[in-house]
């Protein structure tokens, strides 16, 4: 049982949100390594690269929904085809549309649907869930 995440990926086009999450991760000190992507296309390329080169995948991917270019849904549609047993996705959004929550249930890769921001307590909770699963 680990008491820290090894690697997490965040995909969100909003830079201040990413900076805030970075501060929260630093303060919480519950993750060894993390990467932020403002462009979901780049995130996909990175994940593909990890898969192709048999590198360690992140434990979780935090995904925003409403982004220019590839939206969160577009990302999930491609992501789910990459391989079996992919890292789980946490949807992290400011959307209050119940329809978004409903749609997220259709993706088996989505573990949780949450409203921003990610706080220390939530990281601890997710770490606990991951350790128990």
């Amino acid at each position: 049982m680990s008491n820290k995440f090894n690697y997490l990926i965040f995909i969100d086009d909003d830079v201040p949100t990413n900076i805030y999450h970075e501060v929260i991760l630093e303060v919480a000190d519950l993750c060894n390594e993390y990467k932020f992507f403002e462009d979901s296309q780049e995130a996909l390329a990175h994940i593909k690269d990890l898969i192709e080169n048999n590198k360690e995948l992140p434990e979780l991917i935090f995904l925003d929904l409403h982004m220019p270019g590839l939206s969160g849904w577009d990302f999930l549609d491609i992501y789910k085809t990459l391989k079996e047993n992919l890292p789980e996705v946490i949807i992290l959004t400011t959307s209050l549309n119940p329809l978004d929550k409903e749609i997220s249930k259709k993706y088996k890769q989505v573990r949780k649907y949450m409203n921003k921001p990610l706080e220390e307590e939530l990281i601890k909770e997710l770490l606990g869930v991951l350790n128990n699963s």
Partner: protein, 366 residues
């Protein structure tokens, strides 16, 4: 003679035009309704070829061909069926009709009976229905767009606002000890202002979405509903030392649980918010049955509402108190009103300044 009179009376009272043709397609009977429909008197049509009277010019050849073919082969595509075609009025104007044609042959008797009905009103009504259906579809579409707009607008407003809240929290966390009293106060203003705006956006979104969405009604056990309501308001009740009692005459109500829960939370929160500091706050929620309706009453011993403001408080953005005194968006009661009216119920307020307020609402039985 009497028999003929009865027959003629019946035939002329018919709501449909009735035309009888002989085996040469000539008129041998023409009732009153036929005269009304086609504009010819009986004298004008007797013995005349029907093709020259009421068949539109472009169909005359087709009619003659079909009639002759039937007389020779007894094959027909239109006999004994209700068909919809255009006929020609004496004025030359075409009129849509429904026609049922039958062939009677008994010994020497050989004739055709046609029942004809003016179809233009039906077509007009069909057009009107289609038109209304189209308008309804457009309305639904525009409502959906409005709802999506509300979600998108709220989402795009939330993002920068969330950043203000996030970073003022970080500033608070990392720099509070270095700030003087004034600076601390400024930071608090930023945070509380942004949080207030966030509440406002959420409530506005609720208000606009509830107005456009369908109710999701089911048979709800009120004690279970109250458990969920208490989950939300219990902390506030405890903090402000407020006693809440509730009793229900009937424990099941058909309603949209999520929305009525929202109503009860809003009303109880209001009672807590507008408590009178000079006495022990008390809230009573009573559910009764009255004239095929559920009647609910949320009664408090709070500060009360002036009589001339009673109607206004149910309107959107109506706040009777200064923002710094009592927090509120001015949407809560308007939202309650909208939800109750969507249930075909009524909501009204009784209050006495300095004594307390009672918000009453009804939900009709299904």
């Amino acid at each position: 003679m009497t028999q003929d009179l009865i027959k003629n009376s019946i035939l002329n009272l018919s709501m449909d035009a009735l035309v009888v043709l002989n085996d040469e397609s000539r008129v041998i009977f023409w009732n009153v309704k036929a005269s009304e429909l086609f504009g010819y008197t009986i004298n004008e049509v007797m013995g005349e070829d029907i093709a020259e009277l009421i068949i539109p010019d472009e169909f005359v050849d087709k009619h003659n061909f079909g009639f002759n073919r039937y007389m020779q082969t007894k094959k027909s595509n239109i006999l004994e069926k209700v068909i919809e075609i255009n006929a020609k009025h004496k004025s030359g104007k075409q009129i849509p009709i429904q026609l049922k044609l039958s062939h009677v042959k008994d010994g020497a008797l050989d004739f055709f009976v046609a029942f004809i009905r003016d179809y233009s009103e039906v077509l007009k009504k069909n057009d009107e229905i289609l038109d209304q259906k189209k308008k309804l579809e457009e309305y639904i579409e525009s409502n959906l767009q409005l709802e999506n707009f509300a979600y998108y607008a709220s989402h795009d407003l939330q993002t920068p606002l969330q950043n203000i809240i996030n970073f003022s929290s970080l500033l608070d966390r990392f720099t509070r000890t270095k700030l003087n009293d004034k600076e601390e106060k400024y930071l608090d203003f930023i945070r509380s202002g942004a949080k207030q705006m966030q509440t406002l956006i959420n409530e506005l979104l609720n208000f606009s979405v509830i107005g456009n969405s369908e109710l999701n009604k089911s048979n709800i056990l009120l004690t279970e509903l109250m458990d969920e309501v208490l989950e939300v308001v219990q902390l506030e009740l405890n903090e402000q030392n407020v006693i809440l009692n509730f009793s229900f005459e009937q424990d099941r109500v058909i309603m949209d649980k999520v929305l009525i829960k929202q109503v009860l939370i809003n009303l109880i929160s209001n009672s807590i918010k507008f408590r009178d500091e000079n006495r022990k706050p008390f809230i009573e929620l009573i559910g009764k049955v009255k004239e095929n309706k559920h009647l609910f009453c949320v009664k408090d011993n709070g500060v009360g509402i002036p009589e001339d403001k009673l109607d206004a408080v149910l309107g959107i953005f109506k706040r009777l108190h200064n923002k710094s005194k009592i927090k509120g968006s001015g949407i809560g009661l308007a939202l309650c009103k909208k939800i109750i009216e969507k249930h075909d119920g009524e909501i009204w307020i009784e209050s006495e300044l300095g004594q307390g307020t009672s918000v009453n609402f009804t939900i009709p039985f299904i």
